[in-house]
Symmetry: C2
Amino acid sequence: MTYFTGLRCVHCGREYHADEVDYFCPACGYHDGILDALYDYDSMRKEINPATLAGNGNRSMWRYLPLLPIADQTLIPHLQVGWTPLYDAPKVAGELGVARCWVKDEGRNPTASFKDRASAMGVVKALEKKASRITCASTGNAASSLAGFSAAAGIPATIFVPARAPEAKVAQLLIYGAQVFSVQGTYDEAWELCMAAAAEFGWYNRNCAINPYLIEGKKTVSLELVEQFRTLTPGSFPDWIVVSVGDGCTIGGVWKGLKEMHLLGFIPRLPRILGVQADGCKPFLTAWRDNCGLAPCDANTLADSIAVGHPRNFSKGMRAVTESGGAFVSVSDEEILGAIPMLARKAGVFGEPAGVAGAAGVKRAVESGIIGRSETVAIIMTGNGLKDIQSAIRAAGNTIAVQPDMEEVRKAVNTAVTV
Amino acid sequence: MTYFTGLRCVHCGREYHADEVDYFCPACGYHDGILDALYDYDSMRKEINPATLAGNGNRSMWRYLPLLPIADQTLIPHLQVGWTPLYDAPKVAGELGVARCWVKDEGRNPTASFKDRASAMGVVKALEKKASRITCASTGNAASSLAGFSAAAGIPATIFVPARAPEAKVAQLLIYGAQVFSVQGTYDEAWELCMAAAAEFGWYNRNCAINPYLIEGKKTVSLELVEQFRTLTPGSFPDWIVVSVGDGCTIGGVWKGLKEMHLLGFIPRLPRILGVQADGCKPFLTAWRDNCGLAPCDANTLADSIAVGHPRNFSKGMRAVTESGGAFVSVSDEEILGAIPMLARKAGVFGEPAGVAGAAGVKRAVESGIIGRSETVAIIMTGNGLKDIQSAIRAAGNTIAVQPDMEEVRKAVNTAVTV
């Protein structure tokens, strides 16, 4: 059963029953009135504790049902999401200059990104509401993930993408059968159009920043991290959890999950959160460093999943870093590109630019003294490298062209050995 | 512990100890002298039985260690391979005209294809032999998979690809740090060059058709199927197991795994095997139908992973179908392209052309009376759709271009509803 009790506005603190509001606090509006899901943690302890989880054979995000706002389990779609591998990566630790490093490979989810955790939750809530259709605006992974889970759940989807959305991600949307509007404008314009269409047609709105349930899906990555580390390194937990930051929802979900596991007694102390942005798009870093509010900015980075100049979940994103005593850093596109082969060669994990940005961020944070060399880090690698082959090609080396002739191979092999 | 006892030539029947030969039967040569791995099945029953497996928490192909030719477990690389999801797909069953259909999504493996099961085994054997380097020739998935597992295992790889190999797969190789020879010729020429280079430089040869251990990795998909069905549909097993066919190694591995689980008492009877080829490249189908030997042919199909005109493992591939009382069918490229959105929309599984060919083959087999409408099928979906976005784009529909203006959205939505 679920121990979900209601929703609370992060801005004014007002509380609501789940059937009073769908998305945001009516008093504060959708820019400020983001809601937090509330639970009865005291009562759930008999269902969520190390012993019950150890005996739970469900290897997906749904193993944490008491901690999720789901009333009717029969609505859960069949795609296996979550319980992604967590790898100890000593060679990456050496490269980044930390004592120990782990990589959680979220590219192993059904549509190959972390966003599947949120979309899985989104379609269940849409089915609960008996919605005729579900919608979102996205430049990529949230969209392809929603398309996949809508297909699995049998609910139609309409997705708004900016015209410059990458070919591979748009192909994924269409293959899964979503209706796709290619908006001849910016991502911001696509987002506003989606909000208007959802309101006008009564479609269920999966936009993570205004839908309080989506982040509940995202937090499951932290619930897993805590459980996986109990096995991997009993009695200890990494000093830092590292994740790249766009709208602020992912880092917000990561932090909420950690706090809940701490509250439930799974970890004795909370880690710090490192939020990684791109040099060409770092509104969180700017606001955090200057201790001021959000100033939307341009989005100049090849890491499309974090190219968000106007973060829609500023409050939860900022809270993750300030409450945890963490930090924001930014990295250049060159550092991001360099992290793609580095992670692939040293950990066997091939990530897309936004996915590997966390690794690049650790290096920057170590160099600037934010992370100590004796500290340990876990990097959440958010998306599969196959999502963006063009960036991979820029980061990769070259093939050696030969005629089908052993003499040419011999020459190349001997040259390679002597170089 | 392993119960592996040695190797037997499929051609002359001669048996060898594992340290007597590396790859093929010296008496018969590599065209004919393919070897089968042998085990002491009677003795392993105390370690491999339903009770021990049910209590085994390892969710990867390595849960079947007694049935694998691995002496030293410490050499196993860290990437989590196998134990992929098996989905009940009633809408797909309806579309294909069978009583029930399941889809096993092998695109969820570390480098996004079934071939990871073979490469994981290959690098362990290379490390056992203390090889300086590992090599293979491939047009795609075997190569990217070897590159990924070589990186994970810390052993250098050299890979031979034909010049026309798809961009995405070549990018994967380079990102993982493999040395890549782009051979200005056919796949056959790349294969021969790889064989010569392996022999000359003493590199470990991962070519599946001549390396008897690789198929032992591949068979694990069947070991999993048997175990997963014991939970999903206790007491019964699908009438047909369906897989696309290129070199013949995959279908051979599938069959070997099933026979072993039958021998060990996990399933009361063996299913039939349906091997699916492309209309433009069907050497197995031709030989099976005409009851004659292999006649190598051209390879004209967009499904690059099964575009193999000269199958290197003809004997094991043919044996799977003849011993099981199964069949070969072929499908057109149009049918393959049509199966991509069909599987994505009806099962939530996005596959590459060769990966979905099995589904297209079931439809053809039902139409021609090979598979009865009251029968049940399990399709092994061998590779992720993100591996070949160009084919997906050909199979997908179109986006709806709009200005950022609700009036345009309104018009499109209303049109879509009335159509």
